[in-house]
């Protein structure tokens, strides 16, 4: 039965040749735009999310409030104290607590200077932990060790020859705040702004050269297995309120899961994306109107045919289904082509970004749900657009329809 419908619909679509193609092109262009924009947009959001390197689910990040435009903690009015870390570590349910200092500075090499984030690496037993939570992996050279002095690890972005006119290698000497440091290792590329631009330095040394006495930019707390995250969070908040002498509701700090920490940025990005989708979506709506139009024409053209079908026993519902399937097919064909082209376009742009602009910020993230969603959406748009014309066709009186001439 359904095969007959498909057969009939397909034949009539083929019969209209050019016009079917034009109708399909309408939906096709719209879906291409939406698919490529969404997959690139999702990719960008992934990139942004990975900027924050504590993305494990069992980690809480503590920050002092302030205007936060630079690296975390730089705009804090009342910074976090070193003693918090030891106190919090003793809490039930806390596996590890580590503080990190982030300073922005300049890195000099080959008589040129570039802006950099200098990030502290705690010494002793905490080093391993930080390396694990922050997913620090080396591309070249070796990790920092406790006994290292005047040594740093660099993110991959400094290795580019066009930054300093000369390639920084493991063993190169760079200058930070007037002091010479030996580069002992280069981090693996993470595609994350903060990691790829990081200069990792032992904590004691960083404190000395940046004059940091007993404060941290952020404190990361890893929750023990099986512990209740929200209970630990509450305990930390209670403690910090008491320590910093603030009342509930007027806290000058935040304790957040990493997901919460990037919520603001993520919501801005999300709003921008929605805006772009809406504009791109408009073309799908226009394409839908095209389908509607094309179906109305098709119904008019086939009035006589409908009359014949009805006179040999076709029911209203049969005619309705026939036309609905036809418009649904139009939408879906457009959708399939659009998805293929959209993905091609997105991957093409990402490839161009990689080869020509040498950036991996343009990334494609096309989930299965996006593809299935786009496909069902285009079928839906096709069907909705065909609804009224199909209804009109099904309601035709056989006698009138047979008598109809153009």
């Amino acid at each position: 039965m359904i095969r007959d419908y498909l057969r009939l619909s397909y034949d009539s679509l083929m019969h209209r040749g050019v016009r079917s193609w034009l109708t399909i092109i309408g939906i096709f262009i719209g879906i291409t735009a939406v698919i490529s924009l969404i997959s690139l947009g999702e990719g960008l959001r992934g990139v942004v999310a990975s900027q924050f390197n504590f993305l494990s689910t069992d980690v809480l990040v503590i920050q002092a409030s302030g205007l936060n435009y630079g690296p975390p903690g730089t705009g804090a009015v009342n910074p976090l104290k070193e003693k918090y870390v030891d106190d919090i570590w003793r809490f039930n349910g806390v596996d590890i607590a580590v503080g990190r200092i982030i300073e922005s500075s300049l890195l000099e090499f080959n008589d040129k200077s570039e802006a950099a984030f200098v990030v502290s690496m705690p010494q002793g037993s905490k080093r391993k932990t930080v390396e694990t939570i922050a997913q620090i992996e080396l591309m070249r050279g070796r990790d920092l060790r406790d006994e290292d002095t005047n040594k740093v690890i660099l993110g991959t972005n400094y290795v580019n020859a066009d930054k300093f006119g000369k390639i920084i290698e493991a063993g190169s000497k760079v200058v930070i705040k007037g002091k010479e440091f030996e580069v002992v290792g280069i981090l693996k590329k993470k595609g994350s702004f903060t990691v790829d631009n990081a200069v990792v330095m032992n904590e004691d040394e960083l404190k000395k050269i940046f004059n940091v006495s007993d404060t941290y930019s952020i404190v990361a707390v890893k929750i023990s297995k099986g512990a209740d995250m929200s209970a630990v969070k509450e305990k930390i908040e209670d403690y910090l309120r008491k320590e910093r002498n603030v009342k509930k509701g007027s806290e000058d700090f935040s304790v957040q899961t990493p997901q919460q920490a990037i919520k603001t940025l993520d919501s801005i990005l999300f709003a921008v994306q929605i805006f772009i989708y809406v504009i791109a979506g408009i073309s799908i709506v226009v394409g839908g109107i095209g389908i509607s139009n094309s179906m109305y024409t098709s119904v008019t053209e086939r009035t006589k045919q409908i009359g014949i079908m009805k006179s040999i026993g076709a029911r209203n519902s049969d005619i309705f289904r026939l036309f609905l399937i036809e418009s649904g097919l139009l939408g879906m064909f457009g959708g399939i082509l659009g998805i293929l082209c959209g993905l091609g376009l997105a991957y093409g742009l990402a490839f161009i970004g990689m080869v020509v602009l040498n950036t991996d910020l343009i990334r494609v993230n096309a989930s299965m749900s996006l593809i299935v969603g786009a496909l069902s959406f285009s079928f839906l748009i096709g069907s909705i657009s065909g609804l009224l014309p199909a209804m009109q066709a099904s309601k035709l009186k056989p006698v009138d329809a047979l008598r109809y001439t153009k």
Binding site: S65, G70, T74, S104, V286, G290
Partner: protein, 401 residues
């Protein structure tokens, strides 16, 4: 070439197939409406930027720390740097400015904002030209004032920053120090700028312990080339700070350069958004083409009769071109009106959210070119079908069933 009778015939046909015509017009107008709204916002923001740069003038230079963010940078500027810049030929005025991250407390509510410190009595016009606003309520601070502040525009209103509006004489606590409000600035149009707190240099240094300027602003003497002065300033600062070229920890830019960079980024963003919107017009043009093909197919016999009684190919071509032109132009006109309405409503919503600078802007050239564009789309989309119609052989067309 176009006879009135033919135009009338086109109109009649459009009317006769009005449902199809309307659907085609709607598909055009949706795209044109979104383009109109987007372009008007693009225009508005470029307009704002250029008027701002006019107010700022081309005689200003900014000196900032190199780095990801000016705040929290380890690069320090001090009074000696100011003296060095003052000694450069062609420099008329130098103002150091502190920017400190501040916790502002009023009525037990806490907010975060920038505390801006500087000698704004001495450099009043320079500051006013830079921020493009003046103190609209109250008085400026005297140079040795330590307990008063002038606030940004938004503090005067309820629920913008604090739930209650602030008045002259009210006390706020900034980073633990009480300050009395002595005035308010006018609206810059961005939430960040309109929530700043301005204090004197003495207060910033003495009360808030600011030790290093965040930015230094320079005004060049009349008739001097700002770009040239900026280069000299950079050279002298390098010498003073004992840094090699390329390895300096600061950068010097004229405001013209800053604005040029900003404008070019802005233009790219606007262009991309409009390009995405243009896609819908392309889809609409495909719809026009489709409508015209259908219309010609239906009227094949009619075309045959026309030709049989002496119509020329060019006349048939024009009949159908006029038809598609009318369809798209009608869509264009309604679209522009709709886009105008959308932009106006959207603009007032955005303005109420604190981004007053983001307002739509219209002029006749813009409206005319959008209409021309929509007409051109119709003509181009209608050409192939019309051409096909004009080439039909009369005998074949008459026989068509």
């Amino acid at each position: 070439m176009i006879k009135p009778a033919l135009v009338k015939y086109s109109f009649e046909n459009i009317y006769k197939r009005r449902r199809r015509s309307w659907l085609t017009i709607v598909s055009v107008l949706i795209g044109i409406a979104s383009i109109t709204a987007l372009i008007s916002f693009g225009y508005g923001i470029s307009f704002y930027v250029s008027s701002m740069s006019n107010k700022m003038g081309n005689d200003k230079i900014i000196v900032m720390a190199k780095g990801m963010s000016p705040m929290g940078s380890s690069v320090k500027f001090d009074k000696f740097d100011i003296n060095t810049i003052e000694g450069v030929n062609g420099v008329a005025e130098v103002m150091g400015m502190y920017a400190i991250s501040a916790e502002v407390e009023y009525n037990k509510e806490k907010r975060y904002a920038y505390l801006i410190g500087g000698d704004f009595k001495k450099h009043r016009t320079l500051l006013e030209e830079l921020t493009t606003v003046e103190i609209i309520v109250g008085d400026p601070l005297s140079s040795n004032e330590k307990s008063k502040a002038v606030l940004g525009y938004n503090y005067q209103f309820a629920d913008k920053i604090f739930s209650k509006p602030l008045k002259l004489g009210d006390k706020i606590i900034v980073n633990g120090h009480p300050l009395t409000i002595s005035g308010f600035y006018g609206a810059v149009g961005t939430p960040d700028d309109d929530s700043q707190i301005y204090v004197t240099e003495v207060a910033a240094e003495g009360v808030f312990r600011a030790t290093s300027y965040t930015e230094i602003f320079v005004r060049t003497s009349p008739g001097e080339n700002a770009t040239k002065v900026a280069e000299d300033v950079a050279k002298e600062l390098r010498k003073h700070r004992n840094q090699k070229k390329g390895a300096e920890d600061f950068f010097v830019q004229t405001f013209e350069q800053v604005i040029a960079t900003f404008t070019s980024i802005l233009n790219v963003i606007i262009a991309v958004v409009i390009l995405i919107a243009v896609i819908s017009v392309i889809v609409a043009s495909v719809n026009i083409m489709n409508t015209m093909y259908a219309s010609i197919l239906e009227r094949t016999k009619e075309i045959g009769i026309f030709k049989a009684i002496g119509a020329r190919n060019s006349e048939i071509l024009w009949i159908f071109m006029t038809e598609s032109g009318i369809l798209s132009l009608t869509g264009g006109i309604i679209g522009v009106i709709l886009g105008f309405a959308i932009a106006k409503i959207g603009g007032s919503i955005i303005a109420s959210a604190g981004y007053g600078f983001f307002a739509p802007y219209f002029n006749w050239q813009m409206v005319a070119s959008i209409l021309l564009f929509s007409f051109a789309v119709g003509i181009i989309a209608g050409f192939l079908p019309s051409h096909k119609a004009s080439k039909l052989s009369p005998v074949e067309a008459l026989r068509y069933e």
